[in-house]
């Protein structure tokens, strides 16, 4: 699993993130951030530098907060592990609620930054 993530992370260069989440990407940027953040499994010490690069390249702070929050709170790749502890239903609900919460957090962040 970790092996697959490291290959994907190599195949998708930073420019692609900037293209889809950058300035003027609008709602598409939000969706990309949420989907990518939920699926990906990136440790903080890669995610924060990556976010820093994205900000420098014109990605908005709210999109970045959606990205970081989904990255940390929802994990579709780790769902099989979560299911072993909580069962399908609860895991699914927790991830869905977290996803909505992340979008909400990004929305609020937009007012401040």
């Amino acid at each position: 699993m970790l092996a697959i993530v490291s290959i994907v992370l190599f195949l998708v260069p930073n420019e692609t993130f900037v293209k889809y989440m950058g300035e003027g990407s609008g709602i598409k940027g939000w969706i990309t951030a949420a989907v990518f953040g939920s699926v990906a499994l990136i440790p903080g010490f890669i995610a924060y530098p990556l976010s820093g690069i994205l900000i420098d390249n014109g990605v908005s702070y709210s999109v970045i907060s959606v990205f970081i929050t989904t990255l940390m709170m929802t994990g579709f790749l780790t769902l099989p592990v979560e299911v072993k502890f909580f069962g399908w239903k609860v895991s699914f609900i927790r991830n869905m609620v977290s996803l909505v919460a992340a979008l909400f957090i990004g929305f609020i962040m937009g007012f401040f930054l």
């Binding site: 499994l41 890669i46 820093g52 709170m73 072993k84 909580f86 609860v90």
Partner: protein, 171 residues
């Protein structure tokens, strides 16, 4: 035979990375570095978490958990869970075993989910890192906005799961 099949992919992956280093193949090397970063995170934090879980299991009696973060605990319990979670570090999947031990010892549904929320989003060991790359203002705002949101999630989950014989299983 089945057992061998299970390990084919990881082995092929490692061999390819090894060959990339030998022959100076840039793509393979980069993938190797990525993999090493993930692997490092897992190998650094998982054993620590398991040691912590073990000690917690032995040292902290059930009555204490029930009293402080059980279903009858109020805001103080919530604060305690958040403090506990924010002092720990590691990927989300390392929090599940700890959530299990909390639940086993009588922690309330609400606090189990507040624990998971706090564990994933507020980490004192990571916050200096976040400030370094994204700035103090962003980090503080994100933390302050996220805090009430996952407390709300805790209440929501409790409200929904209260009468649904919710259980955290040992895998």
């Amino acid at each position: 035979m089945k057992k061998i099949q299970k390990y084919i992919f990881p082995n092929v992956f490692l061999i390819l990375i090894g060959l990339s280093w030998l022959f100076d193949f840039a793509a393979g090397k980069q993938i190797g570095i990525n993999f090493w970063m993930f692997f490092k995170e897992m190998i650094l934090f998982l054993p620590l978490m398991f040691v912590l879980i073990g000690l917690f299991d032995v040292w902290v009696p059930r009555e204490k958990i029930e009293k402080h973060i059980g279903s009858a605990s109020g805001w103080k319990g919530t604060g305690l869970v958040i403090l506990l979670a924010s002092l720990q570090a590691g990927p989300l999947y390392s929090a599940f075993p700890f959530a299990y031990i909390l639940w086993k010892k009588g922690c309330s549904i609400r606090n189990v989910f507040i624990y998971l929320g706090a564990f994933s989003t507020i980490k004192i060991p990571m916050i200096t890192f976040e400030i370094g790359f994204l700035g103090l203002k962003f980090s503080l705002l994100r933390t302050l906005i996220t805090l009430p949101v996952f407390i709300l999630i805790g209440y929501l989950m409790e409200w929904y799961l209260k009468d649904k014989d919710f259980d955290v299983k040992q895998p």
